[in-house]
């Protein structure tokens, strides 16, 4: 029988995402999210680690955050397997009865979060980018419609699973913490449903996009592939510039993966970022919001990118950029 949490306290589970025996940075952001929930209702936090080997991970997490961990060693988990995650976390939840389970809104986290919710008969809200409290109820904010609108959602029942967008919270790394406790247990979990085969790198990043002083970035709004020419000519005006873009252009094969700005691509912070025809969904904003100065060109005055911009140009970029280049050349002649 598990050690029950304090009466009147809710229990929060954080599921630790890790890679090569290191905690992913999102784990510390999830801890910050849990800490914020704790301000709204008395709660205890436990970080759950599932891995073949947990010692190093527990050490890192308990020392950095001071939070308690439950480290579950599973021999069959040499490689990530969603069936094992769902089964083991579901069993653990049945034992501990957490009110909240917090998971990263990452390809890994999303892969098992929804299925786990069905198994636990839990609610599940994904892509959370903020939380607030009203009348004793916690309300979660997430984006919809390419970031043009925020929707505020509450769960109608407990337990609740949320996936939190990386970059939403500052990592929780308090000073002078005393390390949390570690409870380690070994679990056997054999699954036939999914067999993991391996992990490898198939797309390559190079340093050019990270080193650029100025990034001129293109999105769906450029319309035709030929218009990339215009983006390249525009970028040529700025010394130390590179051309980047949003995921959709990489998916279409118009740009290379190394040029992709956003959560699944490069997270950049140039001195100047010029977003051309980019709608500004949170996946993209997370990749550029630390930029020094941001200019956005978009014909849609409601585009979400304008919320993250210092200068807003509401124009069709196919008219605006040639005019800008003309003005620039005219000035050079003078």
């Amino acid at each position: 029988m598990a050690e029950m949490h304090k009466p009147g306290h809710k229990l929060i589970f954080i599921i630790a995402e890790h890679s090569e025996n290191r905690a992913k940075s999102v784990v510390f952001e999830l801890a910050a999210c849990a800490d914020k929930i704790k301000k709204f209702c008395p709660a205890e936090i436990k970080v759950i680690i599932l891995s073949q080997e947990t010692e190093k991970l527990s050490y890192e997490i308990t020392r950095t955050t001071g939070l308690d961990t439950i480290a579950i060693e599973i021999n069959e988990l040499a490689l990530y397997n969603s069936e094992i995650y769902k089964t083991v976390i579901n069993n653990l939840a049945a034992e501990y009865l957490p009110s909240f389970i917090i998971i990263g809104h990452t390809p890994r986290g999303l892969d098992f979060a929804s299925g786990l919710a069905v198994r636990m008969n839990a609610a599940c809200i994904t892509g959370v980018e903020g939380l607030s409290e009203a009348g004793g109820e916690i309300c979660f904010m997430r984006q919809m419609f390419y970031g043009k609108i925020n929707v505020h959602i509450a769960a109608s029942s407990e337990p609740l699973i949320i996936t939190v967008q990386p970059g939403t919270f500052e990592p929780y790394k308090p000073d002078n913490v005393s390390p949390g406790r570690v409870e380690t247990r070994k679990v056997q979990c054999v699954t036939e449903a999914i067999r993991a085969k391996g992990i490898r790198r198939y797309k390559f990043q190079d340093s050019s996009i990270f080193e650029a002083k100025v990034i001129v970035s293109a999105g769906n709004g450029i319309g035709e592939m030929e218009n990339l020419d215009l983006i390249n000519r525009f970028a040529d005006i700025f010394p130390g510039s590179a051309v980047g873009g949003s995921r959709i252009l990489v998916d279409r094969g118009w740009l290379e993966y190394r040029q992709q700005i956003g959560l699944t691509g490069a997270v950049v912070a140039p001195e100047l970022y010029i977003a051309c025809g980019i709608s500004g969904a949170s996946q993209h904003l997370a990749g550029m919001k630390k930029s020094g100065f941001v200019v956005a060109i978009n014909r849609d005055p409601k585009a979400a990118i304008f919320n993250e911009s210092d200068i807003c140009v509401v124009e069709d970029l196919n008219k605006f950029i040639p005019t800008f280049i003309e003005e620039y050349e005219k000035r050079e002649m003078e």
Binding site: P107, A113, G115, C124, G127, I199, G253, A281
Partner: protein, 257 residues
């Protein structure tokens, strides 16, 4: 082999989205299109049928009347039959409710393989496919960027995308569900002959009230316009004036020599 592809109409990404008077939903958009992830999911199914004979593809869309348009487009692209799970009103539908309807159809029709888009472009939840799989008791893998069915059609090899350009690979026994990442293929355009057939085709309709029995598990409280996180100085004047002003600002900040 029977394949099911789940598809959804979404407002055009470039269109104007505004909050309606209820403050709890959006004003009806002018124009819908098929979610681009679902287009990729359908294309992937069509590629399987191009390769193997004796494959049939059903498409399913849960929603109001505009679901019929994307079903017809899918038939135009080459799907064999369409199922429309009818929700009477426009507005937010909990992913749990949509998934319970899809799971019902999966169980009813014994599909060998189910594809859904990795997420919808409008709600961006990435949930419906994965919830449906679990409710139907099937294994699933999300964000799939490659799939290969074994010759005996009993197993499938898939690769899925992680962040930072990594992929991981899995093998599963069919039946199973996969959510398809964008960029995996280049979706075909509907052909004229298929479109003519699609316009006449009968779409099977099922009332969602009869099959979607799940607790929605969430309530949308309100919608708001995202706050500005930077100054957001809006340039004014003609195109030429705006260009000249931006040139002045960027030169002053020494971004241009």
């Amino acid at each position: 082999m029977k394949i099911l592809v789940c598809i959804k109409p979404v407002p055009d990404p470039e269109s104007l989205i505004t909050i309606d008077d209820s403050q709890n939903w959006i004003a009806t958009p002018n124009h819908y299109k098929m979610n681009r992830f679902d287009e990729s999911a359908l294309e992937e199914a069509l590629l399987i049928r191009d390769k193997y004979k004796s494959v049939s593809i059903d498409v399913l869309s849960a929603g109001s009347e505009n679901s019929k348009d994307v079903i017809r487009r899918a038939l135009g692209m080459g799907a064999d039959a369409g199922i429309h799970i009818v929700f009477d009103a426009d507005g937010y539908i909990s992913p749990f409710l949509t998934a319970s309807c899809i799971a019902y159809c999966i169980k009813e029709n014994f599909y060998d393989l189910i594809f859904a888009g990795a997420m919808s472009e409008d709600y961006m939840q990435g949930q419906v496919g994965l919830l449906s799989a679990e409710m139907a008791g099937l294994p699933c893998v999300s964000f799939v960027v490659k799939q290969e069915i074994s010759n005996d059609k009993k197993n499938i090899y898939v690769e899925r995308e992680l962040d930072g350009g990594l992929i991981e690979s899995f093998e599963l026994k069919l039946p199973a569900l996969f959510t398809i990442q964008g960029g995996i293929n280049k979706p075909r355009y509907p052909s004229l002959s298929n479109m003519l057939r699609a316009n006449k085709a009968e779409i099977k309709t099922i009332n969602s009230d009869l099959i979607g029995k799940t607790d929605p598990k969430q309530i949308t409280l309100r919608m708001t316009i995202p706050e500005k996180r930077r100054e957001g100085y809006v340039l004014s004047g003609s195109v030429k004036e705006k260009a000249a002003e931006l040139l002045r600002i960027l030169s002053k900040k020494a971004f241009i020599n």
